[in-house]
């Protein structure tokens, strides 16, 4: 054996940027994440060429999965052309030769910050959610060692208490995005800061979801057909954002999650947060062929 067969010929960067041994570590952790849905799996989390907090966790998972035949869609707040999404998508194709798309239907991997597309994901698709804070217990326990012990004991009483106090104080649960959910009846996870609108899309879904926090060095998964139940009281139903009656002022879409655009003259208009769905709806209205897949919500009702 010599040094030359311990290593490979020098190259400035590996395929898919990550060194093969970084990928092997992430693969091992992804397998454990699938085996224990919703359980936060610690990983080394190498540095990648974007800043921590900007999607480095999602990026490491995507870089591990990616191959030349992959087609990636990257969204931030639902938009493909949002600055950070564009930057990540460009990086992915630059280091892998994978295809890029804005169309949810065409993607093999969807990496997202804060949204799940409105078109239903299929069983051959992988959703990679970027996670800023993987710990649903952080609001009640900032110390990660203690929080881990609470997960070990399935000690979620203090989370319930927070929700109960909101009910008492405000007459409703005030949790906005990142609504905590019980996964496979065992681990409470944060679904990442997706709106409440998107959480049901993880429950008994057909696709595979990875959630990865690069800065906090934790990744977890929701396999297909896995129970993801938002924490609610039996007599107070889970409430998604009240967007079903809003209409997108650009595309005419209704029954999707909206961005509110304040108007100088007062009041607001709304636009579909899933920007490419909006584009496809406009194209269809203009007579172009643009396929829109089945939506998770129909007539304001979640269909799954």
């Amino acid at each position: 054996m010599s040094l030359s067969n311990l290593t490979r010929p020098w190259a400035a960067f590996s395929y898919g940027f990550l060194d093969p041994s970084a990928k092997r570590e992430i693969r091992r952790k992804m397998i454990k994440a699938i085996a224990v849905p919703g359980c936060q799996i610690p990983y080394a989390s190498r540095e990648v060429p974007i800043a921590r907090g900007w999607g480095t966790g999602g990026l490491q998972v995507t870089l591990t999965l990616i191959k030349p035949a992959s087609v990636v869609k990257v969204i931030d707040q639902g938009a493909d052309d949002s600055v950070n999404a564009a930057s990540i998508r460009r990086f992915l194709s630059r280091v892998s030769g994978a295809g890029e798309t804005w169309d949810t239907l065409a993607a093999t991997i969807v990496q997202s910050r804060h949204r799940i597309p409105e078109e239903r994901l299929r069983d051959d698709q992988v959703l990679v959610l970027q996670v800023p804070n993987p710990e649903p217990l952080r609001p009640v326990q900032p110390n990660m060692s203690i929080a881990r012990q609470m997960h070990a004991d399935a000690d979620y009483g203090r989370l319930w208490l927070v929700l109960y106090e909101q009910m008492v104080r405000s007459g409703r649960i005030m949790q906005g995005a990142a609504y905590p959910a019980l996964v496979n009846g065992r681990h409470v996870m944060t679904p990442s800061p997706i709106p409440r609108w998107d959480v049901p899309k993880l429950n008994m879904a057909r696709h595979l979801t990875f959630l990865s926090a690069g800065r906090e060095k934790r990744l977890y998964a929701v396999p297909p057909f896995t129970r993801v139940e938002p924490l609610v009281f039996s007599d107070v139903p889970y409430k998604v954002e009240d967007h079903t009656r809003l209409t997108c002022h650009r595309s005419g879409l209704t029954g999707v999650f909206m961005n509110e655009i304040p108007q100088a003259a007062g009041g607001s208009v709304f636009e579909a947060s899933d920007s490419h769905l909006g584009i496809k709806a406009i194209r269809r209205a203009e007579g172009d062929a643009a396929e829109i897949g089945p939506l998770w919500y129909q007539n304001g009702e979640f269909r799954g």
């Binding site: 290593t7 990550l18 060194d19 921590r52 650009r250």
Partner: protein, 352 residues
């Protein structure tokens, strides 16, 4: 397409990056070489925080980042990610270091002697404004001592151990090739000793100073005395697959040991070492190490608190990430707020 035209994100980011790079101008080998030669202490600091010892790459990163330290460290760390690990260097013993500077505040004199080496400690910090007027600052040549100090110096802690002043800390029984590596394994708490020291070694100098200073001012449990501070060079010994050990070169290292009287009646030691010469970091880091034992959960000197919050790439990245759009989460919060305003809490059924 109207929907897209008003956004134009892709073009905007491209032009914004161009603007930044245009303002920095052309980066050539001469600029990189110039930085490397002119700013050795900064290069050292960057190499330490990057945990990548290569002065040329550090200078290149500084050039590309225009001197923004967090950007430079991120560039180097990201580059490091792409590199395979081909060998594991042998551990370095204190007494084998090629020592340039070694001082102790604990004793007037120590076995092996106090060696000042290069320092501004006792200099008057006067700005050489004449340089701007065209008069070069030419350093006065050093007059060598009649007898050079020995390159290798004993460890003061070894003498203290022999005198029964310092408890011999427990040693982890681990083969040197199996010493845990925090860049390849997750940091968990309570942390492996190797992980703590590695994390301190690559911690943010400013962050370590802030927390270490807080500990020194009384937010910790122990007041440090500098037992030994060293600036040195370490031989990097690696093993060829044939079994032969050879030197792959030398790296500059700093290390500090601080001490205080422990509850056991013996002295306790805190330790920190890093790549490059960076005295502030190792003294502050050793102070935090000294304070970590028995620290209260969530206190500013507890290991988990210290190591999470002094990680330069994580802390700076998360800080600037707040510039990213958060309008979906904001919209979700607004919805809950408006919903609460409509509901009358008094009439709302609350589960018992």
């Amino acid at each position: 397409m109207a929907y897209v035209a008003t956004r134009g994100g892709e073009r905007a980011i491209e032009q914004a990056e161009r603007l930044y790079r245009e303002q920095l101008g052309t980066i050539d080998a001469a600029r990189v070489q110039g930085l490397r030669d002119a700013l050795p202490w900064l290069i050292d600091r960057v190499m330490g925080e990057a945990s990548l010892y290569d002065a040329d790459l550090a200078a290149l990163a500084l050039a590309q980042a225009g001197g923004d330290l967090y950007e430079a460290v991120l560039l180097l760390r990201a580059w490091r990610t792409t590199q395979p690990r081909i060998a594991i260097a042998a551990p370095v013993l204190q007494e084998d270091l090629f020592t340039h500077r070694r001082i102790s505040a604990a004793f007037k004199d120590i076995p092996g002697g106090q060696i000042l080496g290069p320092t501004l400690d006792y200099a008057h910090r006067l700005l050489a404004t004449d340089v701007l007027g065209g008069a070069d600052f030419v350093p006065v040549p050093v007059t060598p001592a009649p007898q050079a100090a020995p390159a290798q110096q004993p460890s003061l802690a070894a003498w203290q151990k022999a005198m029964g002043l310092v408890a011999d800390p427990p040693r982890a029984e681990v083969a040197t090739d199996d010493i845990p590596d925090v860049t390849r394994e997750p940091l968990l708490f309570p942390a492996a000793r190797a992980h703590s020291l590695q994390s301190l070694a690559r911690a943010d100098t400013g962050g370590v100073l802030a927390l270490g200073y807080a500990a020194m001012r009384g937010y910790g449990n122990a007041h440090p005395t500098v037992n030994e501070l060293r600036l040195a060079e370490a031989e990097v010994m690696v093993r060829h697959p044939s079994g032969v050990s050879f030197s792959a070169g030398r790296v500059k290292v700093s290390q500090a040991e601080v001490t205080s009287k422990g509850k056991s009646g013996q002295l306790e030691l805190g330790f920190c070492a890093t790549f490059g010469w960076n005295e502030v970091k190792v003294i502050a880091g050793a102070t935090l190490d000294l304070n970590a034992g028995g620290a209260e959960k969530g206190s500013a000197v507890e290991e988990e608190f210290v190591l999470y919050h002094t990680e330069p790439v994580e802390s700076s990245g998360f800080c600037i990430h707040f510039k990213l759009p958060h309008y979906v989460t904001f919209q979700s919060a607004l919805d809950a707020m408006r919903g609460a305003a409509v509901a009358d809490p008094a009439k709302e059924e609350v589960p018992a």
